[in-house]
């Protein structure tokens, strides 16, 4: 009975994480289209939500990596997964608060690794899977996106450089509707699978599924729905950072950045690499900017983003470990997760209330 209650809490928390993932990552998917004028915000976000939903159904390679290759499922308990999820959600909200586009994916993996180490020691982590499938691709992917976007925009400028800017801009804006859609599809494919992987891991840990099972259909549908809803209600704060603070882009650069991002994410998904879509699209944006003019990229803002990237895995791991410790104070039953969930909900509500007070419109006539 206790383990079933914990499992329900884990599934609810995982879907809440998936929602925050979509919420947090909306910017990555739509910012370039919005900042170049290729699509109106509501339209761009609506399309992105729909394609995130569709994308969640087209592969399960990444879910398999998260469920089987990063931590040892035989020593994992639903409480460990729960603590990891809370660590990831907490880090997502902290970076959302400060407007930093950090990686939800690395937060999730960091959180689960941290809580697993706190619970079962270093042996609970598959170093090979963590390094080979998460850390190395995490470093390589943004560099590849940077390079692809840079080469792509260089060639594009050579081809269309002597044409009148009007038709060229219009053409690339139309193209951005497709490249932005592809990016949303790629995002749904890679990111929703991480939640599927975590829920599957919890189901395996609970004995509900066999050790090498694929995610059940209800897990896929619920993860797809949560990320799509999160994307729809996504964070405008971070859109501003990605869309205009890194560089001021034209439509060709936006197309190239989105195309590079989609290409990198889809190819990585094929091999089951749980990438950070945030890192990849920001790498593409910087590559498209730097190829035109190195000084066009606001390297100070880019540096803040890189700092958040570097901090994400260890910070989420530390929070995941701390949450696991807190949960265990109340024993091994359902009481710990229930109390931690209530505390987390109270903190989230307080954060949103404070944020809405800070961003409330100034009444007319108040000065």
């Amino acid at each position: 009975m206790n383990s079933d209650i914990i499992l329900v809490i884990v599934v609810g928390t995982a879907l809440a994480f998936d929602f925050t993932n979509g919420f947090h990552d909306t910017a990555n998917v739509v910012a370039t289209s919005i900042s170049t004028g290729a699509a109106r915000p509501r339209v761009a976000i609506g399309i992105a939500s729909l394609l995130n939903f569709v994308g969640a159904f087209i592969s399960i390679s990444v879910a398999a990596t998260v469920a089987n290759d990063v931590v040892d499922a035989s020593v994992i308990t639903p409480t460990i997964v729960f603590a990891g999820l809370i660590g990831a959600i907490a880090w997502n909200l902290i970076t959302w608060w400060f407007g930093l586009p950090s990686s939800s994916s690395h937060a999730l993996i960091g959180g689960v690794v941290g809580s697993a180490v706190a619970a079962a020691g270093l042996d609970a982590v598959f170093a090979e899977g963590l390094v080979g499938k998460v850390l190395v691709p995490a470093v390589v992917a943004p560099i590849v996106a940077f390079t692809v976007a840079g080469i792509g925009i260089g060639l594009a400028y050579r081809i269309v450089g002597r044409q009148r800017p009007g038709p060229v801009t219009r053409g690339f804006r139309y193209g951005q509707i497709v490249s932005g859609g592809l990016l949303a599809l790629a995002h749904g494919t890679n990111d929703a699978q991480k939640t599927m992987g975590v829920i599957t891991l919890a189901l395996i840990a609970n004995g509900t599924l066999a050790a090498d099972a694929d995610p059940p259909t209800w897990v896929i549908v619920s993860a797809a729905t949560a990320i799509a809803l999160g994307t729809y209600f996504g964070g405008w704060r971070i859109i501003r950072t990605t869309g205009s603070r890194i560089i001021k882009m034209d439509a060709a650069q936006g197309f190239s950045a989105q195309g590079a991002g989609a290409a990198v994410i889809l190819s990585s998904t094929h091999f089951g690499f749980p990438l950070s879509t945030t890192h990849v699209i920001n790498g593409g944006v910087m590559g498209a900017g730097a190829a035109k003019r190195v000084s066009a990229v606001r390297w100070g803002v880019a540096g803040n983003i890189v700092f958040a990237w570097l901090l994400t895995l260890p910070a989420a791991a530390a929070i995941g470990a701390a949450v696991y410790g807190l949960t265990r104070i109340f024993g091994t039953g359902a009481l710990g997760p229930v109390l931690v969930t209530l505390m987390a909900l109270a903190l989230v509500a307080a954060a949103f209330a404070r944020r809405s007070q800070q961003t409330a419109p100034v009444p007319a006539g108040s000065g």
Binding site: V144, L155, I159, Q163, R164, G171, F273
Partner: protein, 79 residues
Amino acid sequence: MIATMVETKELLETVLASLLAGVGVTTIFSVAIWGGARFADLNRGGRPLAAGAAAALGGLALLATVAAVVVGILVMTSK
């Protein structure tokens, strides 16, 4: 030690596929836009034959872009 942990073949294939798909699609779509822009200019300049050739090249490039996107999605997501 790290070298043995990295799935080098898969990683290299990912890098290569990303380069081909990302750069390739941007390039052929740029050719499509070039074709469209040239068609309009040449047509206005009274050179219908050259305009037709530019439009044909642009159209082919557009078709190639769509085909590359569709094939890319199918290949990348099949396993």
